[in-house]
């Protein structure tokens, strides 16, 4: 399978794993050296490196907000080892449903395992629905 197609397939699995709240399904896509920035430019604790720390990060994130992604447009591959995609993330926060626009940029190793995940979003731009706090 061409590299672009392998990257795309991994990103489809990633979104499905997030949708299902399945931490192990998500972590299975990552290399041991995985680096996650979620969000890019975020406060301390949002740049997490290594599979064990990343597993905890996703477990806590899934428990805190039950994220549900809905992809917006195609997964964009490259002739290199990186790909990107836009999606809307629905979060269940205490104050109600929140939607945030995200673009994920991922880098892959030779086995198409994800070695870097950079999530572009800005909580300032999130859309909050439901009761205000």
């Amino acid at each position: 399978m061409p590299r672009g197609d392998r990257m795309r397939a991994q990103m489809v699995k990633y979104l499905a794993g997030v949708e299902a709240g399945d931490v192990e399904a998500v972590v299975s896509l990552f290399a041991d050296s995985i680096s996650v920035e979620d969000p890019v430019g975020g406060p301390p604790g949002t740049h997490v490196v290594g599979i064990d720390a990343v597993r905890v990060f996703f477990r806590e994130g899934f428990a805190a907000s039950q994220p549900r992604p809905r992809r917006d447009g195609p997964i964009v591959t490259t002739a290199g080892d990186e790909a990107a995609m836009a999606f809307t993330l629905h979060l269940e926060l205490e104050g109600g449903l929140t939607e945030v626009d995200v673009i994920d940029v991922m880098r892959f190793d030779e086995e198409a395992q994800i070695i870097s995940l950079r999530a572009f979003w800005n909580f300032r731009d999130a859309r909050h629905h439901g009761s205000d706090r």
Copy 2:
């Protein structure tokens, strides 16, 4: 103006400059040290560094294909110095109109000048219309 808004404003100007085929308008958004990867992972000659080389790169690109971008979804900022956006690029190539899905990732300096532009797209995924060659 918050940094996110300044980055967004610069990206809006970038798309307008590309739409107008106005090389100087585009280049005015770049720092002297600008690094352009278009596409990411592309062959030699697609990673161009420095304002003079980048000016030539855009001039040749605009002349070759008259690119017209149509943004898909919001510009996604971060709390850091990077932002991203998805768009569809219409290109006038010899064989007819070609459409390609792109995600641009940009990094900004303290004056909101663009210091890095990374264009994610894969010509393999381009949609060609018009006469086949």
